[in-house]
Symmetry: C2
Subunit: 332 residues, 2 copies
């Protein structure tokens, strides 16, 4: 499970930060999923190790341009570039209407069902599920209808130690199957064998949560519960809290509070306002992204400020028991 | 009069060439005009010496995404960035519908009349005129309704040489006015004075023509007639003529033929297909932009291949007589 930030700025692009988009690469799959698609996302993909043709699903949080305006061009380029795969797009009501209007007026023909593009209007709850992953969404608190997303990798039963089972004299056959499924078995010689003796610890599935744009919000905490990675917007610094309130955005401190209350394991701040874009403070603009980081870390230590093209491999946690030994296991 | 190419590629962006946009800065004006606005045009502006807030007019050739999809984001960013000026946008039918759909579904509110944005559906002929410039458009030959544009700077009467008039004893007053207007006057002493004796040569206005996307087209020649600068699409090389025909695009040779037939003074090839993107030929893709250049120059010597961020100052030609002395005066 690998995250690549493609756009980490708020509202308008700057030279350093494009508007919102995040790619999520899933283990053992050739394709990846995209969260939001601000203008220029396809340009960012060109500058990364990803390719448009590998996109399988796109999740749109809300219909503000800085999360959306890259979508028609990305779909058209995918088609022109010869991508023939299907793309499922998830988002709030009106997403379909927007894409249809683009298709009809701009003559691309690149966003229709005939091209394998399917658009799903999401409702709170589970919106996608396969053998390995479940995706849920819940509404956040923003000026318009906005959804946060939670991707949960299913737990994986630990590997069955076939050689060890043979060594201790368990006959091959149906007993192997029962042990693999986690049952205890009693052998003809009277021994009782516990499945745990012959299986590696279960692998706990990873959790990825994506919460932007939003003010402080209980649903964000719900989505981020025990998440391995929470990506949460932090448009503003604490001194601009009033601006955050008026525009229904978060400060870095709010994002960190969500991470802490959700017992998340790692927080990435994103959707950083251009006002903190400088690498150094100046008289007009006394704060930088470094200040947002400090404000967040005061509340939640495992905070980072995302930057465009930052890639992060989400480490696997072992069985639930082991993860409780603390930070060490999270630093793998 | 200064041209800056912001996007010179066809269809989909590449690392080297963004999709279509050209800025035209006018003399003595703080603002500039934009021709086409593919996705990422605002990003290109960020990387240039231009700013979004200086845009006064936008001319859209046609409603294909690679000429259009940057417009909603550019307008929204202009508004977010505090631009308060008016913008007039010119283009084919449905442009207004497209922008309205973006505004209504994506909640930007950045493209409405309340924000000083006016959208004009163009018809062949003169679409704009002020004291110094006239803009005309004519339909080109493409798969959908597409307009080429011609900007003509008005001729400027040469400066009246006041000191010289006094030296030769012309009394100040109404006679000065008549001489300035180009009339001949007869003095009380019987001398007849020709205006040309007391005025610098007239300054001929410059002509800028923008023809993309199009197959070979008489209207393109009409628009480019005697142009100081013709920007013409050259999506394909001659060996891909069949592709050009099928997609209603031009080869470099067609662009050069238009320039030659129009007696234009300088040609920039743009809208270059990504297939010629390499700096060197390879076995799969034997041609580069250099080949397009050679094909054009074989027909029209003053050809160049545009590249992103190329800036060109269009030199002023003097009186019509002088320009006929040939290339030397065009090299100023």
């Amino acid at each position: 499970m690998q995250i690549t930030f493609l756009g980490t700025g708020a509202g308008i692009p700057t030279r350093a930060r494009n508007v919102s988009a995040v790619a999520l690469r899933l283990p053992q799959r050739a394709h990846y999923w995209l969260f939001d698609c601000g203008e220029g996302t396809q340009h960012q993909i060109l500058r990364s190790s990803l390719s448009i043709s590998q996109i399988r699903r796109i999740f749109i949080t809300h219909l503000h341009g800085d999360h959306l305006y890259g979508l028609p061009g990305l779909l058209a380029s995918g088609k022109l570039g010869g991508a023939s795969g299907e793309i499922d797009i998830y988002g709030p009501a009106n997403l379909e209407r927007y894409l249809r209007a683009c298709r009809e007026t701009a003559h691309d023909g690149g966003a229709g069902e005939a091209d394998g593009i399917r658009i799903h209007e999401v409702e709170p709850g589970t919106i996608y599920e396969d053998d390995e992953f479940t995706v849920e969404c819940l509404p956040l608190r923003h000026r318009i209808l906005t959804f946060g997303y939670r991707v949960r990798e299913h737990d994986r039963r630990g590997r069955f130690l076939v050689e060890h089972a043979r060594e201790i004299g368990i006959p091959e056959g149906p007993l192997f199957g029962r042990l693999k499924r986690g049952e205890s078995v009693t052998l003809d010689d009277g021994r009782t064998i516990d499945s745990a003796q012959l299986c590696e610890p279960d692998e706990r599935g990873r959790i990825f949560a994506y919460c932007t744009d939003t003010a402080f919000c209980d649903n964000a905490i719900e989505l981020a519960r025990d998440a391995d990675v929470l990506i949460h917007e932090a448009t503003f610094a604490e001194q601009d809290l009033e601006l955050a309130r008026r525009s229904a955005h978060s400060t870095a401190r709010i994002a960190a509070t969500v991470a802490r209350n959700a017992a998340a394991h790692r927080l990435f701040l994103t959707h950083i306002s251009p006002r903190y874009a400088q690498s150094r403070a100046s008289q007009d603009r006394p704060l930088t992204a470094e200040d947002l980081l400090n404000e967040a870390q005061a509340v939640f230590a495992d905070s980072q400020v995302a930057r465009d093209f930052l890639t992060f491999n989400v480490p696997r946690r072992r069985a639930v028991e082991e993860t409780q030994t603390g930070a060490a296991s999270r630093e793998q």
